[in-house]
């Protein structure tokens, strides 16, 4: 009996430790550093930039190193450093809402699916339907319906994430349900709900944590893609995707216009992916 109680706590706390171990690996550290750098730049945007992100001037497409504009200016004479930093901020704001929301809704639908076979079928087919539509066409349609702004961007990201998390958790629940310890618990007379919350969910949660990191990169991607298609956030608010798409007509004339967002997006998604990989490795171990 004593042996059992001693064994139980580490079992319950088990997920925490590997995460920390994962983030302490070379990969995890590099990833965290990259993400941290970008996030910090976004958080400190108002302090780091001397100009407002939408302040225009007569200085068209000034090159990097121009006094007062370390990264230069864009076509309307706006400070590129400020637009980049505030763009990061806007992106972070969007993905920090959209991804958790998508994860939550996805998990809820997976739980609903776990409750009843009919619900399961409905949820599964709904996921199929969402996945079957090319995401960016969906983005165009949703923005046309909802009108411009952050809302459609958040809606599209959320919609894209729901089936991902839903399928993942559903699989996790199915796998865990078949495990011996669950059968044992059920035979032991523990209620279904308690089994789910105390045993199945904690064990099915690991892939979800990894997926969040992956989904954050997907969210950055969707925001950028929507800006490219002209259905991103309301101008003149900068986002990483918006600044990059504004730079597109000037690639030959003023390549520096594109460099800031290119480097930042690469650093951000690379960092997130490294974190995801590190977590994934530790969990699979």
């Amino acid at each position: 009996m004593t042996a059992l109680t001693k064994a139980a706590p580490p079992l319950a706390r088990r997920p925490r430790h590997p995460y920390r171990a994962a983030l302490a690996t070379g990969r995890g550290r590099t990833g965290l550093a990259l993400v941290g750098l970008v996030v910090l730049a976004g958080l400190l945007a108002p302090l780091l930039s001397g100009h407002g992100p939408t302040d225009q001037s007569a200085l068209t497409l000034a090159g990097p190193g121009t006094p007062g504009h370390p990264l230069g200016t864009d076509d309307l004479g706006r400070d590129l450093l400020s637009r980049l930093l505030h763009g990061i901020r806007a992106d972070l704001g969007i993905i920090a809402v959209a991804v958790p929301l998508g994860a939550l809704l996805g998990c809820l639908s997976a739980l609903a699916a776990a409750a009843h076979p009919i619900a399961d079928t409905v949820v599964q087919r709904a996921f199929d339907l969402i996945l079957a539509f090319p995401g960016l066409i969906l983005a165009l349609a949703i923005t046309a319906i909802l009108g411009p702004g952050r809302l459609p961007v958040i809606a599209v990201i959320t919609l894209a994430e729901i089936p991902v998390f839903g399928r993942l958790l559903r699989t996790g629940i199915l796998v865990q349900r078949g495990r011996e310890y669950v059968t044992a618990a059920r035979v032991g007379g523990i209620s279904g709900g308690r089994i789910l919350t105390r045993h199945i969910l904690p064990n099915a949660a690991d892939p979800l944590v990894v997926q969040i990191a992956v989904s954050l990169t997907v969210a950055v991607f969707i925001e950028g893609a929507m800006s490219f298609l002209g259905v991103g956030v309301r101008p003149p608010e900068p986002t990483l995707g918006a600044v990059l798409s504004q730079a597109m007509p000037y690639l030959a004339q003023a390549p520096h216009f594109a460099v800031g967002p290119l480097v930042t997006v690469t650093a951000l998604v690379l960092g997130l992916s490294l974190v995801a990989e590190a977590l994934n490795r530790e969990i699979r171990r």
Binding site: Q56, L76, G147, G230, P249
Partner: protein
């Protein structure tokens, strides 16, 4: 596991690499070792040193949007092919004097209520059928059909009677005199009346023009070959013309720079700087302009129903900056819709509103406002967004906070037609390059009876009607144009900002290329110099 696999992997992986590299070279070799490169000068099509235009040769036009057959009879984004396949009745010269094309001469009746046209004989359609007066009657009636969505429909609709005198003389009877009939004759393409449904479906274009359309690949391009039986002797010089659709500005630029294409009207002004230094290309600007960006005002939304507020907005915008930053300096900052080719153009009116934030704030104050919040709808394409952003920033400086509403073109169009625009919007309009009366009767934003601004004024209606029905030359005509201009400036329901440049980028060896006033490409005299 790795211990069991000690030596060979290195060798193996090297082999794999080699094999992969081999595949890569093969793939690259197809392009790089081949005879042509997609980014270096394409073979000059039949270049040869001759003083006189010589027959032969073919070249490619880069267009940024495709031919839209359903808009064949309307002014659409891409009208270049109209004058290749078809002809018009007349051709305007630079002073808006009509010159003969399919109509060889014309005579107005004294009361201005009818016009007699003599038509060219010996003209045949591509399928061999001779061109007659019936084709002109059909062309007019066709434009009267609302399904064709022709902008000059109101002018076509003024033609109420047709009297044929043989196959090559025709009297058109007018419900009332109009002074923009030749705008219609410059605009109206003469199509084959038997195959018009095929034409608007894009299946077959049958015209009398210098080139025959041999192939249309939607989204990719059009191919034209020489019409061997063209009515102008020894024309055209060229054997064939290709249109290639290149929707992306960068790719379009690259195709011109590398000689893949030899002519384009689709280079955005802001990108022309990269081509200006190219010795192989010639950049020229047409005085007609390429349409004008304007700020529309919904006069039913308070406080925009107050003329003073609208005038304040007109003073508040830095037009020169928009011209420089958005259009790369190609075009004309202007408070009026008229490009330099228009008889209504005047320098005084063009600079009636300049950038004067102080005056704008004063006017707002005199109207009882210190700050305003207004929505502004704009099309969500890069150039249009930049104009809207610039307007937003300028208006912020005079205390008008503007919220941008990026909208896709189709929805914007719908709002425009159904008069459901928010307080402000930016879009562009055409039709200012010909007879000034055409703008007020054909361009919807300026329409006296019904416009998107919901602006009504008996005085405006009267002057527009009168300007339309008074002969287009003389002191009276000039006075009426001045009155229209003054009304537009004073009422400021459409605040003109900048007239886009109509810029032609052509290979140096390409000669004799012209556009008509509605941007139809005329290649009758085009040839390749040595």
């Amino acid at each position: 596991m790795t211990e069991l696999y000690p030596t060979t992997p290195t060798a193996l992986s090297r082999r794999t690499t080699l094999r992969a590299a081999g595949g890569g070279t093969l793939l690259l070799g197809l392009g790089l070792a081949g005879c042509r490169s997609a980014v270096s000068e394409a073979e000059a099509p039949g270049a040869e040193a001759t003083a006189k235009p010589r027959r032969g040769g073919t070249f490619t036009v880069a267009v940024n949007s495709d031919f839209t057959p359903s808009l064949l009879f309307a002014q659409s984004g891409q009208s270049l092919q109209q004058r290749l396949v078809y002809n018009t009745l007349v051709r305007y010269d630079d002073r808006l004097e009509p010159q003969p094309e399919l109509a060889t001469s014309w005579e107005y009746a004294k009361d201005g209520r009818s016009i007699t046209l003599k038509l060219r004989t010996g003209v045949t359609y591509h399928d061999g059928r001779p061109f007659t007066a019936d084709d002109v009657i059909f062309a007019v009636k066709n434009l009267q059909n609302p399904l064709r969505a022709a902008q000059l429909r109101s002018t076509a609709a003024a033609i109420t009677g047709f009297e044929k005198r043989g196959d090559h003389e025709l009297v058109l009877k007018l419900a009332h005199p109009v002074n923009n009939l030749f705008d219609l004759f410059e605009f109206m393409i003469i199509t084959d009346r038997n195959s018009v449904e095929d034409a608007v479906a894009g299946r077959k274009l049958n015209g009398t023009g210098p080139f025959k359309l041999t192939k249309w690949s939607p989204g990719t391009g059009l191919s034209f070959t020489r019409n061997e039986k063209y009515w102008q002797p020894d024309r055209p010089y060229l054997d064939a013309v290709e249109f290639r659709v290149i929707a992306q500005a960068d790719a379009l630029l690259s195709s011109l720079r590398t000689g893949q294409t030899q002519l384009s009207y689709g280079v955005p002004g802001r990108n022309l700087a990269t081509l200006a230094a190219d010795p192989e290309l010639v950049i020229s600007e047409y005085s007609t302009g390429g349409g004008a960006h304007y700020l529309g005002v919904n006069t039913t939304v308070a406080p925009l129903n107050d003329k003073t507020v609208r005038q304040a907005l007109a003073w508040g915008i830095d037009r020169e900056r928009i011209l420089k930053q958005v259009l790369g300096g190609y075009g004309l900052a202007s408070a009026t819709p008229w490009p330099k080719s228009s008889p209504a153009f005047s320098e005084a009116a063009r600079t009636h509103y300049t950038h004067d934030p102080g005056k704008a704030r004063e006017l707002l104050k005199s109207a009882g406002h210190t700050g305003l919040d207004l929505p502004l709808l704009h099309i969500n394409l890069p150039g249009d967004t930049a104009v809207a952003e610039a307007v937003q920033y300028d208006l912020k400086q005079i205390g008008v906070r503007v919220t941008l509403e990026p909208t896709d073109p189709a929805t914007a169009q719908k709002n425009l037609i159904s008069q459901s625009m928010p307080g402000l919007w930016t879009m562009s309009h055409g039709f200012a390059q010909v007879q000034p009366s055409t703008l007020a009767v054909s361009a919807y934003p300026f329409n006296e009876a019904k416009n998107t601004s919901r602006f009504r004024s008996a005085a405006y209606t009267k002057v527009v009607r009168e300007a339309w029905t008074t002969p287009g030359t003389g002191a009276r005509a000039n006075a009426l144009r001045q009155q229209i201009t003054d009304t537009l400036l004073d009422e400021a329901f459409i605040i003109d900002l900048v007239i886009r440049g109509s810029v032609q980028v052509a290979a140096k060896k390409l000669r004799g290329v012209t556009l008509n006033k509605f941007s139809y490409l005329n290649l009758d005299d085009a040839h390749l110099a040595g």
